[in-house]
Amino acid sequence: MTCYRSQNSWHSYVKNSLDEAELHEMTAHLLLCSECRSLVSAIRETAGTFANDRVILTPPLEIKLNVMMAIDKHKYKKSTSSSHLFELKNWGLSMLAAGLLLFALNLTSLVSPLASNHVTDLNTVLGKQMALPFHKMSQVTQAVLREIDSFTTYQPK
């Protein structure tokens, strides 16, 4: 290590904040260089002087009181409504993904007609496949509506 390089680490050396390799280099250099050693010694003395003469100031009590009164303690509280909307959004996306998966699964039955080049049958098969989930969904919907009707028209004895 040269004097030019060592001067970039004098103050770090005094604060013991060098890593192992840098510390080893600096220590070795200071053993050989009296000028750098003298400068480091002066820095250390100044640091010691200022540490001993550091102003001891007691902060006034109102600092804490004023700060705690000024801040919004609820600033980082997550609001309940926004979390519910977030959950609903997640549900909606999940249902959409399930629908697309169902659609994709039904489309796999079209592979054999395509492979055997029965292109003329493709439109018919495709139409049937697309109609199938919608037909099933409408059956389920009608069943639910019937149930709801039976509850609304129910009359106690």
Binding site: A51, D53, D72, H74
Partner: protein, 196 residues
């Protein structure tokens, strides 16, 4: 409890935990602000503003650096902004809690207080880039690497500024003690001689 744990708790909605952060850092921030302002009331106001600003920006603390360096970055920038906007109308000597030193005579204590005030005033008169590194290194005990993170400069730059700042401070203090109008004939404490 570690700073990161307190911050995490605050960001989960427990704002009252900021009380611990204030308790932990208000003394250092108050002292730093005093070194910039040389006035107790301005130091108090600045400390409050710094702590409030830090709370409002807490979500931006990414925990890559330590909380103390993040907080002091806010503090230093706020103090420098204050210095640029208004110069102190008067310099108020702080009531020093370390006055009652039984080992020193009253005369020595008074001289010590004078020297401390002189040093503080000289530091405050330096250009901001030098006074900042001096305050953080010698008075707040940060390492050059930490100071580099606070002032957002390379460590080598901080080392250079520290070297120059110390020299400027020494020259300023020595020129103040060696003559001119109002030259004080009382001998200065030996500490002044250590700034060689």
């Amino acid at each position: 409890m570690h700073d990161d744990e307190i911050i995490r708790s605050i960001l989960q909605g427990n704002g009252e935990r900021y009380d611990d952060i204030v308790e932990r850092y208000q003394t250092g921030l108050y002292r730093t602000a005093y070194y910039y302002t040389q006035n107790i009331e301005d130091a108090r106001d600045l400390t409050q503003e710094i702590l409030i600003k830090a709370y409002n920006y807490l979500a931006g603390f990414n925990q890559v650096s330590s909380f103390s360096t993040w907080l002091y970055r806010i503090a230093v920038n706020h103090c420098i902004d204050w210095c640029r906007k208004k110069k102190p109308l008067y310099v108020e000597a702080a009531y020093l809690d370390n006055l009652s030193d039984q080992e020193r005579s009253p005369e020595d204590q008074l001289l010590q207080q004078e020297l401390t005030s002189e040093v503080q005033a000289a530091v405050a008169c330096l250009p901001e880039i030098y006074s900042t590194v001096l305050i953080l290194y010698y008075f707040e005990d940060f390492s050059p690497q930490q100071i580099a993170e606070i002032v957002d400069a390379p460590k080598r730059t901080v080392e250079t500024r520290l070297f120059r700042a110390r020299k400027m401070l020494r020259d300023k203090l020595h020129s103040g003690s060696s003559g001119g109008e109002g030259y004080d004939l009382l001998p200065k404490p030996k500490q002044l001689a250590q700034l060689r």
